[in-house]
Structures are given as structure tokens and as C-alpha cells.
Amino acid sequence: MTQTPVLRIEGMTKRYGQKEVLRDASLSVNEGQLKILIGPSGGGKSTLLQCINFLVTPDAGRVWLKGEEIVRTQKKVLYEYRQKLGMIFQDFNLFDHLTALHNVTIGLVRVKGMSKQDARDKAVYELERVGLKDHISKYPAQLSGGQKQRVSIARALAMDPEVMLLDEPTSALDPELISEVLTVIENLRANGMTMVMSTHHMGFAREVADEIVFLEDGHILEVGTPDKIFLNAECDRTRAFCSKILELYGSA
């Protein structure tokens, strides 16, 4: 592989007290790739994703964005780096006191220093892209879960990120709202966005992931194409997890 990965992490380790929740995790993501993290709850998926943009401070581990190592102790470097990683949370984390529009503009105005008018134009464009043209002046409490998650995607995309990190973006949604969010993610992928996503949605993972990463007890146990992971896993734990998920949710 001659290509420089867009995002590379190495030796990511995190302990809470005595408990090691992430052990020496390494990963690299190429331009336009979609990596999907799977594994049991409590396996460390959220911790790994949040260590990538240092929302959780790892005990050890290094990160490179486009070949450049991130020195997280320099505040300015850290804040600029975070702008380049869009983050989507399981429970949306929209700013409750702001309309959909202002949820998107606030980062543009307060972080990127854009003028109010430019920010507004860009936010309207991003909200239209996720199908929320008619909802821009609603407050989070007036939106459905699927709409909230799409606002949060628009908010992240407006910052022009190099990589998107998505932490179970559909897990807090009612079943009938899941597909509207997955469709947006599929469109992102089709447009070449580089993404790392954790999900329990195996059908989706199998269909659209370039690579699947299986994480259990803080260990990355196996990495491979969807076909390999779902049909031909080398690791017993991976096979056991996949068959259990299939049992629970039907055919993948």
C-alpha cells in the first residue's frame, strides 16, 4: 500500500482505574474508506472513537491525520484537528437552545470565524443535503430522532471534515427512522467521505463497509472485508458474535 492513510492510529490504550477498556488498538483508514466497528456492548467502540479525537484522553497512543502526527498537548493543534473530524453521537447531542440552523452555524461562526451570512448559506445548504429544508427553524425538541441525527450530521459536515466518526448513529432511533439516517450515510460514502462508524446494524455493515473491525474487551481481534468477517472469520470470538447477532436480528 503506497497510499498515505487519511487517518492512522497506533497503540491506543485507555484504562479506567484498574480496568483496561482499550488495549493497544491500531487502525488506518484510507481516503474514501468506510470502516465499521462491531463488537459486543462495552467492548470499547465508543472509547476508541472518542480517543481518536481526544474527547477521551488516552493513556497511550498516537494519531496521524494525512501523515501528520497530532500533538494533542498543543491546544491550537488539538482544536484545529477536531474541526477536521466530524463526530456523530448515539444520542445526537444537539444544542437544545438552538434551532437546527443555529446548531449548524454556531461552529462555523464561533470556531471557523465565518460571517453570519456565509454561515447561514452554508448551513442551509448542508441541511438541504440531509433532507431538512423545511425544518431549519425548528428546535431539537420539535424534531424526531431521525431528524435530530440528520441535523447533527449536517452540523459535522458543515465544518468540511476530512473524516467522519460515527458512534452507533442509529441505536437511539425508532426502527422506522433508522433507514433515513442510514441513507444519508450511504450517500456520504458514495460521495467519497472517509468514515469510521460503530454499529450493531449488521445488514448495513455487510452491504456498505469496506472493512470491518471486530472489537471485544478493548482488543481489536480481527479486521477484514465484510465477506471474510461474516462468512469466514478466523477468530472464534468473531464467529460467536456474528452468529449471536444473526440470531437476534435475523439475516444480515
Binding site: 484537528y81 453521537f89 445526537f92 444544542f95 437544545d96 425548528k138 425538541a141
Partner: protein, 232 residues
């Protein structure tokens, strides 16, 4: 034999006493309003700083805030007024008017209480929003200013309204420093005309009116800034 007429005369005299003193008392209510506004605004500014320090600060800052709150909530108002006016500022040779010292002391005390109101409000917010703000590349300071405080302050309005009515009542103690607010003026007139009941009654009613107006105004503000669709 005291007849009905005597009472009529009493009542009339009371009304006359109130009428004559009213402009003087109303002037005093301006002083009271000035004291309370000054104290509440100082308490607001300092209370926010203390609350943010208490929630987000390190061990040292948290202890400093803790001691501050413990001190200003623990020492009686009158002691603090004398301590600052006759003690501290005389000792430091700083010449401040009684009004300024009273507003300052009321504000410092209110800051201690307000900091606990804001702290509770900040802690009641879902922490994911702070994470989301940082994920956008905001510094902690920006996240607190643009995301946390606008919501925490909204949530604080009912408790703040309560704090207002307490500071308003406490402001009468400024009388002890010779600040010519409502209570001091009522006392001044009453002790000369011996019309105690009508004057203190009027002063009491004026305090009630100020409480009512303030809490109504804040109730109106609370409705006005309520976040649409947000159940509380």
C-alpha cells in the same frame, strides 16, 4: 367618652401621615431598587464565575469557591456589613459610601447563593452537549460561553427570582449603615411623627409591591426565553 369620631380622626391622620411621607418613601424605594440591582448584577457576574470554577475548575479553584460560599453564606448580613464598612474599608483606608458598601456586601453574599443556583443548573444539563461542542473544535471557554451558560441561565430564572426577593428584603438591613433606603426613611419619619403603624405598614406594602413587580418581570422573561418544545 371616646366616640366613633375619634377613630375617624385617627384614620384620617394616618392617611395624612402616609400621604405626607409618600414622596419621601418613594425616593427611598429608588435607593432600595438601586441597592438591589447593584447587588443582583454583581452577584450574577461573580456567581457565574464562581459556578464555572466550581464545576470545571481544578482542585484548588474548587476549594477556593467552596470557602467563599461557606464564608458568605455562614456569616450574618449585619456582621458582614459592619465588618466591611467599619472594619475592612476603614482599615484599608478606602473611602466608600455606605450605599456602595451595602450594595457590595449584598452582592458578595448573593454571589455565593447565585453560584450554587448556576452550578446546579450546569450540572443538570446533559454532558453530551459539552462533548459535541468540543468535537466541533471549540475551546472549553467557548463551549461554556455559547453552549452551557445560555442553557444554564435559562434554567436558573425561577431560582434567581427567589434570590431577588430575598436580596430585596435583606436590603432593608442597609439601614444599619445609614443608607437612606425605604426602611430607614420609614423609621426616620415614624420616630418624629409617632405615626409608627401607618409608616411601617406603607414601607411593608412597598416592599411587597417591589417583590411582586420583580418576580412578575422575571416570570415574563422566563416565558420569553423558553426554548420551544422543551418540556420542563
Amino acid at each position: 367618652m371616646p366616640g366613633v369620631g375619634d377613630h375617624v380622626v385617627d384614620m384620617t391622620e394616618s392617611f395624612i401621615a402616609i400621604r405626607d411621607a409618600l414622596p419621601y418613601l418613594l425616593h427611598g424605594s429608588m435607593v432600595t431598587i438601586g441597592l438591589v440591582c447593584g447587588a443582583m448584577l454583581l452577584g450574577l457576574a461573580l456567581g457565574i464565575v464562581l459556578a464555572v470554577g466550581h464545576v470545571y475548575g481544578g482542585q484548588v479553584i474548587r476549594s477556593v469557591v467552596g470557602v467563599y460560599v461557606w464564608f458568605f453564606r455562614g456569616v450574618p448580613l449585619l456582621v458582614l456589613l459592619f465588618l466591611f464598612y467599619f472594619g475592612l474599608f476603614s482599615f484599608l483606608n478606602i473611602n466608600l459610601s455606605a450605599f456602595t458598601v451595602a450594595a457590595l456586601v449584598l452582592g458578595l453574599i448573593s454571589a455565593a447563593y447565585q453560584s450554587q443556583i448556576f452550578r446546579g443548573a450546569i450540572l443538570s444539563l446533559p454532558e453530551g452537549q459539552f462533548k459535541a461542542a468540543r468535537a466541533l473544535g471549540m475551546s472549553d471557554r467557548k463551549s461554556i460561553c455559547y453552549i452551557i451558560l445560555p442553557q444554564a441561565l435559562r434554567l436558573s430564572i425561577p431560582a434567581w427570582s427567589n434570590e431577588y426577593s430575598i436580596v430585596l428584603k435583606d436590603s432593608a438591613v442597609a439601614y444599619a449603615l445609614g443608607v437612606m433606603e425605604m426602611m430607614a426613611r420609614a423609621h426616620f419619619v415614624a420616630s418624629r411623627t409617632y405615626e409608627h403603624f401607618p409608616l411601617y405598614f406603607t414601607a411593608g406594602v412597598m416592599f411587597l409591591i417591589l417583590t411582586y413587580l420583580g418576580t412578575r418581570g422575571l416570570g415574563f422573561l422566563e416565558k420569553k426565553v423558553r426554548i420551544p418544545g422543551y418540556a420542563r
